[in-house]
Symmetry: C2
Subunit: 143 residues, 2 copies
Amino acid sequence: MAISDQELSHLRSQGFRLTPQRLAIVRALSQAHDHLTPGEVYRQVHGELPGMTEATVYRTLNFLTEQGLVLVAHVGHGQLVYEIAGHNHHHLICQACGQMQEIDHAELAAFFEQLMDRTGFQVDTAHATFFGFCPECKQEETS
Amino acid sequence: MAISDQELSHLRSQGFRLTPQRLAIVRALSQAHDHLTPGEVYRQVHGELPGMTEATVYRTLNFLTEQGLVLVAHVGHGQLVYEIAGHNHHHLICQACGQMQEIDHAELAAFFEQLMDRTGFQVDTAHATFFGFCPECKQEETS
DNA sequence: TCCTTTATTGCATACACTTGCAATAATGAG
DNA sequence: CTCATTATTGCAAGTGTATGCAATAAAGGA
């Protein structure tokens, strides 16, 4: 999954700028086949652009999230993780062992519809995280 | 909504201790008819127990959450908020104006059932947060 | 009531994240 | 290609949150 040149140019036409820092962060997220924490992004990108600061990483991740190019999820306690937007999915996380399972958006689509009808909200389907116990840990809990 | 003496005594029987700090924090959350951030809890409780530190507030909120007496939700960007557990509900938040709407758990019950069947997870119904645009802001977005 | 055990606190410190401001540099215009 | 505009960065400082460790004090037993 990656962000197209077209999408990036679109940012430029909105008055935003494509700096080396932003491009490096987009590249890092595109190459990662997993979620990255801000710290992980920083470590990866810092090799390429030694001048880069953590503040820029945080600002850029927020920026990309606002622009809809990146998804943010809270996957555990307080820690936020980021990934390139693309296939629409959600997460189910085991509170005991930390195991993470993806839930395709299709499974929630009907529910989102219902929610929008009921509340009048335009529900943003970007991301939801659910917590629980995976089959193995569930067993240990109850035994 | 409040936490019963019975629930508190149950903690004691598990080897946990009911310290003035914990009781003060439980009281503060019980009296609040809204979510509180850790900072808000600290400011309220500090008047009563001047010795109390922020570290204790964070530790206690985590503790109460683990014990299921308190619910935690991320309601906005990065900031976590806490409230007394009781009526099971979720939140729908407007990304533009910050307005928050409660969603009763009953509306999600069927979906949770389905999710548990499909994944084998014991889904913890504690809390889910959805983001979107409220009716008013939705209009401004599209116009 | 006093003692013992050990969960919990406070302090200090460290990590995670945000923000104001002056300096830098990406864009578009000329 | 050069210049002006102004979005973005780096720095430094500030807020929010977590944690190791010694001191404190809650709870149960004598």
